[in-house]
Assembly symmetry: C2
């Protein structure tokens, strides 16, 4: 997500400072800093003090597929994020956008509406994100900065971890393996990573406060996503729906109400599912075959 | 509160390790450790790893009168507490009691019932405590320990900060000053510090999980508290009710429903308001006159 955001920020009227833990390729238009938010909070705080950023876009969290729902690292990221926010405010920061998740909502409702759908996370990941959302909202009230909470739905696209649905399906098909799936009727709000990035940048530049869903407002079935990938790759695909058990507690429908994003932030996603799948599948094909 | 808790723990079948930031008089029956949870989380985590406690009673937070409601240190304490909890679980901890506040509740309800009264903190202090409560509840579910969340009402007694209602009133009367107060009709659940300590120790030794109110279940008016102090001191008191404006947003009534504390934890406060005021006023009189 950071990779998709930085070029957009560099085009906007910002002096962009990228902070990350690991060394990586230089990002054109951005100054780079290395800091370990988890392991060395003092270093991160000293960096924030030195840079004195006006705006903060905080994307970092633990997101290892299969593990992040229950990992104790969610507590560490809550801690690191709270400290980062405090350092940002202390250094005179004016506007922050933090990243949350649809997993904060009571997902039995299906369509998630900010300020209406109850917040009732059922996972440690959702609870830690929601805890940060609550404390950041209270903090803005006393510390004199403005903040929004971007609740992400199902982001996909180039660069996502290879274990996730889209890349795993692409890789399976390209390898000629059978792709084992659950029934595939789960309806989800998939949003292309570049649309997420553009929404975050638009939100950062706005004065909108509080939670804003980042999604398309359209639910598609996992089956439709997987079949679109197979079609895009244009080669025989052995898709085995029903080969894996579905979690009986899994919500049948998770979709964003995007009224706030559209009417208050003034943003609408531009990339259709067909185009997004096309680009994501193409990106992964290049990497698998090279 | 720590001072009141440690002797009770030392009487119970625990090996007591006291961790604090500042040097202080030795506590009989306890091993003492110095660690700066805020400034040096690694040191605190190393200590938890070395001691490998079975039980954790976490009392530390920022509580400076007049400032703690809105201080950014609430974020730091949320961060430090999240990290402490994670270190505790990683070191094999089995049972934790963390301390919350009635300020987590929607206080327009008056009587606060765990699991029924909505959690709707209106202050950064309340939001940070509630955030910790939510994330700790989710953490216990995946990290394999048991935890309770002690929601404190209006604790008073020997050792509390001198700016708070009871000591400030005692000191004002003893100094022969007029004591300026608001109307004094606010009804609050005052609970003596030794009862709080005994409730916490009982809760720590129990298997009760989740939020438990720590109060008496009885509301008394601030006026009654102040007049009881004056009576106890037995000297002329110039009590000026109405001399200070009351906060128009202040809830008229804040009282704990103590059903859970009584029926599930098996604890009932033992110190009446008259006795508690007697002891608190006596304690402060000794210190003011010495």
């Amino acid at each position: 997500m950071g990779r998709a955001v930085v070029p957009l920020l560099a085009d906007a009227p910002y002096e962009v400072h990228v902070v990350r833990h690991s060394r990586a390729a230089a990002v054109p238009g951005a100054r780079e800093h290395r800091a370990d938010l988890l392991g060395d909070p003092h270093a991160a705080e000293a960096l924030v003090e030195a840079v004195a950023p006006s705006h903060l876009l905080h994307l970092a969290w633990y997101t290892e597929p299969g593990r992040y729902w229950t990992s104790g690292l969610n507590l560490d990221w809550l801690a690191a994020s709270a400290r980062l926010l405090r350092a940002f405010a202390a250094a005179g920061g004016r506007r922050a956008v933090l990243v949350g998740t649809c997993a904060e909502y009571d997902l039995t409702d299906g369509t998630c509406v900010e300020g209406v759908t109850p917040l009732r996370p059922t996972t440690l990941y959702g609870a830690a994100k929601n805890a940060l959302q609550e404390v950041s909202a209270a903090h803005t009230g006393v510390a004199g900065y403005s903040a929004a909470w971007a609740r992400l739905f199902f982001a996909y696209g180039p660069g996502e971890p290879p274990e996730r649905l889209v890349p795993a399906t692409v890789r399976g098909i390209l390898a000629g393996q059978s792709v084992e799936l659950s029934h595939g009727r789960q309806l989800r709000d998939f949003v292309f990573v570049e649309d997420v990035a553009a929404a975050l940048v638009k939100l950062l530049g706005s004065e909108v406060e509080g939670a804003v869903n980042i999604g398309t407002g359209q639910a598609v079935s996992l089956r439709d996503v997987v079949e679109a990938i197979a079609e895009r790759l244009g080669q025989p695909a052995d898709l085995r729906f029903g080969a894996r058990p579905a979690d009986p507690n899994e919500p049948p429908l998770i979709v964003a109400d995007t009224t706030r994003l559209r009417d208050e932030v003034g943003f609408a996603p531009a990339v259709s599912l067909a185009e997004g799948i096309d680009r994501a599948a193409g990106w992964w094909r290049e990497r698998v075959s090279s």
